[in-house]
């Protein structure tokens, strides 16, 4: 792991981006998006949260300048969380649809 020093300017830029994204979240929350408002609004809110998290991980947490193993470890947690989400929701999303089809 090299001792990479990130310039302060980078931190400030990332911080500015985070604040802009926060403002965007608030604006999106106050807007109405018409017919598919729920889908659009929710997707936007989580997309923004995701971008914020990625910025923090890459720059504040220095993953961008870290060796491969740190990338792998950082991704592993989210990958496994993905497994938990996917297979659990697989049950709930398929319940109503298949309960009828399979007869109960």
């Amino acid at each position: 792991m090299t001792n990479h020093i990130v310039p302060v300017k980078t931190y400030l830029r990332v911080f500015a981006a985070l604040m802009v994204l926060l403002a965007a979240t608030i604006i999106c929350a106050k807007l109405q998006f018409g017919v598919h408002g729920f889908a659009i609004g929710t997707t936007l809110a989580f997309a923004i949260a995701f971008i914020k998290a990625v910025l923090i991980v890459l720059y504040f947490m220095h993953v961008r300048y870290s060796p491969r193993i740190v990338w792998i470890v950082a991704l592993a947690g989210f990958f496994w969380l993905g497994i938990l989400f996917a297979l659990t929701l697989c049950d709930y999303l398929s319940r109503s649809r298949f309960e009828g089809a399979f007869g109960y």
Binding site: V8, Y11, T25, G37, T42, I69, L84, Y92
Partner: protein, 238 residues
């Protein structure tokens, strides 16, 4: 070198290392990898509650939406800003530590602590307001307020409808409470870091504790970044 009977002692400014490591860089790598591994467990720790929350929100969208509208949106928004600021000051503290600037490190660590305490204070105010509003499950939950939502018709809502709103608030308090607990731990760690920094334990060659604690603090910030839309930004679906 610090082999022998006092293996754990760290040499001060010469980039020394604990006995089990070959050199300071191996020790630093191990510490950073260790913290990332720990954060992995934290992802799953919070993640499990997120999954439970998602399942119930999928089941009871109306009730969860109604619950979310009762949260203090601006408290949450301001707290997000406060935490993002604290992440910046933490990053700057690590930066200063890496440059070996002790006073600057201490200053940024204290900034971070102040922002962390600010967050907790706002959170406490919010909890207080929620207690006043009768939104605390089981102990002070006013189910009646969820039995007659305004609408064009005379509806008698389901009794368990209020229970579903209560479920939302269970998750609200558990998730924000867990997060606040992590904040308290983080602030405690920073107090220790400040003490260590004041005693001159860090240098440009050895500042691993600051760096590793920074990772933890940023992670706690990320959790909030997801909690905010998850709890406060529920959108009406019509």
């Amino acid at each position: 070198m610090s082999h022998g009977n006092s293996p754990e002692r760290l040499a001060k400014d010469d980039g020394g290392h604990a006995h089990q490591f070959d050199d300071a860089s191996q020790q630093r790598n191990a510490a950073i990898l260790g913290m990332w591994t720990f954060l992995c467990t934290e992802v799953l720790f919070f993640g499990a509650v997120f999954v439970a929350y998602t399942v119930y929100r999928y089941r009871y969208p109306h009730a969860f939406y109604l619950g979310a509208t009762r949260l203090k949106f601006w408290y949450g928004a301001v707290n997000t800003a406060v935490l993002l600021c604290s992440s910046l000051t933490m990053a700057l503290a690590v930066h200063a530590a890496a440059a070996g600037r002790r006073r600057s490190t201490v200053r940024f660590l204290i900034f971070t602590m102040i922002l962390g305490v600010t967050f907790l204070c706002i959170k406490a105010l919010e909890y207080h307001a929620e207690w006043e509003d009768g939104l605390v499950p089981h102990y002070h939950f006013n189910a009646a307020q969820f039995t007659a939502p305004p609408g064009p018709s005379q509806i008698v809502p389901a009794p368990d409808y209020a229970a579903n709103v209560e479920l939302f608030f269970c998750f609200y308090f558990i998730m924000t409470g867990l997060h606040a607990l992590h904040m308290v731990v983080g602030i405690g760690i920073m107090a220790i870091l400040v003490a260590m920094a004041l005693r001159g334990r860090f240098s440009a060659r050895y500042y691993t504790p600051v760096e590793v604690s920074g990772l933890y603090w940023h992670f706690v910030d990320i959790v909030w970044v997801f909690l905010f839309p998850l709890l406060y930004l529920l959108i009406q679906f019509d």
